[in-house]
Symmetry: C2
């Protein structure tokens, strides 16, 4: 196992700790090489039984982005109803939850549960490991984007069937994420939901148990 | 948004492309600082609505590791039955699918779907985003482990209720992964399932579509 240099190691940790979920983008397109690196990084994620259940639909056309932004906004308005009469009502309406129309590129990342046959090694026991593999691919994309100086936002505000209709995705394929990519001039140093006082980062030590559930670490 | 130096950027890509799923470990314990960095990296993963649904149960005691290894082996034998009379029958029996007993540390990573209340931002639309968040945390652990020169293996061969019983995990909490961590003297340069001729890496370009599902990129 190769050892990273101290500076290489620092690069890994910078990407992990400074990665943010971004909703504000500049219109400048992504350099081709950066996009390839981001996609290759996704494809080098771990996958259960090496099933590689992912596909990537690249969307840069304005009409399609507008259609996606529209169904995301419908879902945002639908969720607003659930926050009515709570202390989060106004806060929610102020949150910007997607940057699909501004970002030069949106990638719909999908999961194909039928990939690699009927008995995928490890997925027989925990079927959702297909989607977990795709999530690892998305996290790789995020860290690669950070390394390229490119901002990324993950949108999960939509009804999957709306996305299937717009992008002509077959019914058995799961559109698990809409990913916006682009440059930004607004890169916060903390999570936007923390800045907007929506949630706080929990204390890590309280999330760690020793030997069995509930047993404090020290 | 800070720019990484070329060497820092190289560190990110080395971790992403050279990360492997390991099943063979040396008994040497992990340095405390490396473990803290790995756990902090997990905790800095993205999470839907910033819900941070993860917990980490650290297991270094031999008896508990033996119990976990036993239920994993039961599941391995059960799966072997599904490969009977196929061309993968013998190949499967030769695969080493876990290194829980050798590795000095196993971390059970869990997902708490009740974390952060009834209407988690973004999870109202796609409920499985809780588990997808935990998967991003696991991928961060993997890349941080690589940066620390530590090998990691993700085991998903078990019945969740067996793990709940052994680790006293409440019924509503999902033990989504058993993660083994340790040093190794056997670090392959390709995925072990590729080396064992179980699956091959797919051609990335065929997994990428342009504008809509099924539309080839070029």
């Amino acid at each position: 196992m190769e050892h990273l240099t101290p500076e290489e190691k620092q690069g890994v940790y910078k990407a992990i700790f400074k990665r943010r979920d971004i909703r504000t983008f500049l219109p400048d397109p992504l350099p081709g090489e950066a996009l390839e690196n981001i996609l290759e990084s996704a494809h080098h994620a771990p996958s259960v039984g090496f099933m590689q259940p992912w596909n990537f639909i690249l969307i840069d056309d304005q009409d399609t982005k507008r259609e996606l932004a529209h169904i995301v906004d419908k879902e945002r308005r639908a969720l607003a109803i659930h926050y009515e009469d709570t202390d989060r009502d106004l806060k929610f309406l102020e949150l910007k939850i997607a940057g699909i129309q501004e970002a030069p590129l949106t990638i719909c990342v999908t999961c194909d549960p039928s990939r690699a046959g009927d008995h995928v090694l490890g997925r027989n026991s925990i079927p959702e490991t297909d989607m977990m593999s795709v999530s690892c691919a998305i996290q790789n994309m995020w860290l690669a984007a950070y390394a390229e100086g490119i901002a990324m936002g993950w949108v999960s505000f939509y009804k999957k069937n709306d996305v299937r209709r717009i992008l002509e995705i077959p019914p058995h394929i799961d559109p698990v994420a809409l990913i916006s990519l682009g440059y930004t001039d607004s890169y916060p140093d903390r999570p936007i939901l923390e800045i907007n006082d929506w949630e706080r980062r929990r204390e890590l030590n309280k999330l760690i148990y020793n030997g069995k559930w509930g047993n404090p670490r020290e």
